[in-house]
Amino acid sequence: MFGLEKKDARLLLLVATMAMFAPFLLNPFPEGSAMAQFNAGYPDLMQRFVIFGILAIGFNILFGLTGYLSFGHAAFLGVGSYAAIWSMKLVTMNIIPAIILAVIVAGAFALIVGYISLRRSGIYFSILTLAFAQMSYSLAYSVLTPITGGETGLQIKAHDTPLLDRALEAGQIGRANLFGFEMSNSVQLQLGGWEFTFNLGYYIAAIVMLGAFYLAIRIFRSPFGMMLRAVKSNQQRMNYAGLSPKPYTLAAFVISGMYAGLAGGLMVAMDTQVGPERMFWTASGEIVIMVILGGAGTLLGPVLGAGFIKYFENIISKINETILHSWFAFLPDGLEDFVVAMVYPFIGKGWHLTLGIMFMLVVIFLPGGLVQGGQKIAGLFQRRKSADAAKPNATEPAE
């Protein structure tokens, strides 16, 4: 199906189903219940899931396949965002040209950065990309203020007159749209105690993500994808087999830069503003962590990793001391205070601590990421099943 092997088609269908039903799946707890704060089915967070999913899928094409660890992918995200918002400022508030421009500009920028950075490999490559990203951040923050809006970033204001759109009223802030439909349009569905939100922006981003995921599967299964794995495995043999590793690596770098540009364009489409902090090195680091946490080199891993991190960032950071007290209210007073004091550093602003611990646990015990964890569990079940199946034949001699 779709030119995919059965297994891959099933994976794509699974991801598509999850993405389409995300408003249900992410809101398992009834509104107003104590667990409702663990619900993630609100538009803003769901959009972030899929957008960072795209970013991670693209990063995985470079890092997962070729093994080249870029520490500057946030730069392409930022460049894509700036390109998108300028398309909106100058041409139209429609998101389609904005996203296309974001991909093209990010791809061109990735070509330059990649061409220079790929002169080195290993740690030196990582440092070069990091340097480029930090330079981009500094430029956007200060020198290029006329283009980037400096520290405050860019929004669509009344004095912007997109060529194809009518002007905004004074004081109004422009919102991106798709042929007149705004991204924040939502439909609410009340079912018993539950409330589900279907947001236009989320569904557009989700469809783009599915397209990006599908393309990634095709790349993984193509001769080109095999060559990228060969780059990671043995460049010496590649050379002596008559292949030039560099253009392959550069192509992978540009593709993953374009994915990042796509994510950046979508970010602007969902929330029509951009600031330089989007290119800061911690943002680049976050992408790396997403992919490693989920499972580098696997198809599903990056999506899982992105979802995992964005979930914890948004949910754990929302828990505060009052909520902790209400959870542990059943304990005797002194003990309650003690437990709250022990847990407190890991929640709210301390969510990075929780993330760090989880990251360490995954890297130490599941070097293949969450995907490997899933495989281990699945393997456990399968072994039990095959053990059960083998029992009736136990009397027959083994082959």
Partner: protein, 252 residues
């Protein structure tokens, strides 16, 4: 005129003359061995042939074209494949993928963007890969990860990766180094079979005299960076100069 013509190669590393005026001519459709005691310059010569080292002077012509200054992948595209001392294979990939990669390189050149087509749609390449794997008796291992193969199988796989490109010249750098006796015999048999089945020119650099004399049709002896003798194996065996080069140290 041989398919590979090496003329007047000189290479110095600081004060050491690694190669001094080396001439070598490998005739088409022969197995040519290059032997010599440790430090004779065999590996340096090989590295010059594959473009890894640039000599101070001299010329290396392959099939009428100069090899010098070309990148390794360009030299491969000219028709020279190389087998390494320790097998160089794609350890993370399956045996089948290992063989498919050189097929693509042969068909599509050093770089081509096949990013959307599925590997499974490449029937021609698959048949080619299957063919060579059955030639080296590894078809049943096609789905194994290459790094999990035994040393002998890794060597066969590397050989298959070179042969599937149908090279005009196959360079072998001590193909049996560090092998157990049985593996050495297997490798000799494999090389003999290849030689008989395919009219392929081979240049072997080897320590093991047993291997050399079972395979080579012509032998060049190097000593201290200089070509000592070049002749057929029968004449090399008893040659006084060769004995001196090999046994000279022992007499001290």
């Amino acid at each position: 005129m041989g398919i590979l013509e090496v003329k007047g190669i000189n290479k110095r590393f600081g004060g050491l003359q690694a190669l001094g005026n080396v001439n070598l001519s490998v005739a088409e459709n022969t197995t040519h061995a290059i032997i010599g005691p440790n430090g004779a310059g065999k590996s340096t010569l090989l590295n010059v042939l594959i473009g890894k080292l640039i000599p101070d002077s001299g010329s290396v012509m392959f099939d009428g074209q100069s090899v010098l200054g070309r990148k390794p992948h360009e030299i491969n595209q000219m028709g020279i494949s190389r087998v390494f001392q320790t097998p160089e294979i794609f350890g993370d990939l399956t045996v089948f993928e290992n063989v498919m990669i050189p097929c693509f390189a042969k068909r599509d050149g050093p770089f081509r963007m096949h990013a959307i087509e599925s590997i499974f749609a490449e029937k021609g390449i698959q048949e080619q890969a299957e063919g060579i794997l059955s030639d080296v008796n590894m078809l049943e291992k096609r789905h194994m990860t290459a790094s999990s193969l035994s040393r002998g199988d890794k060597r066969r796989l590397e050989m298959a990766m070179c042969l599937v490109q149908d090279p005009k010249l196959l360079l072998l750098d001590e193909p049996t180094a560090g092998m157990a006796r049985a593996d050495t015999q297997n490798t000799i048999a494999l090389l003999k079979e290849i030689r008989e089945k395919r009219n392929i020119t081979m240049a072997i650099i080897e320590h093991d005299m047993n291997v050399v004399f079972s395979l080579a049709e012509r032998i060049t002896v190097l000593a201290q960076g200089m070509p000592l003798v070049e002749d057929i194996p029968e004449n090399i065996k008893g040659h006084p100069k060769v004995r001196e080069a090999y046994l000279g140290e022992a007499q001290v």
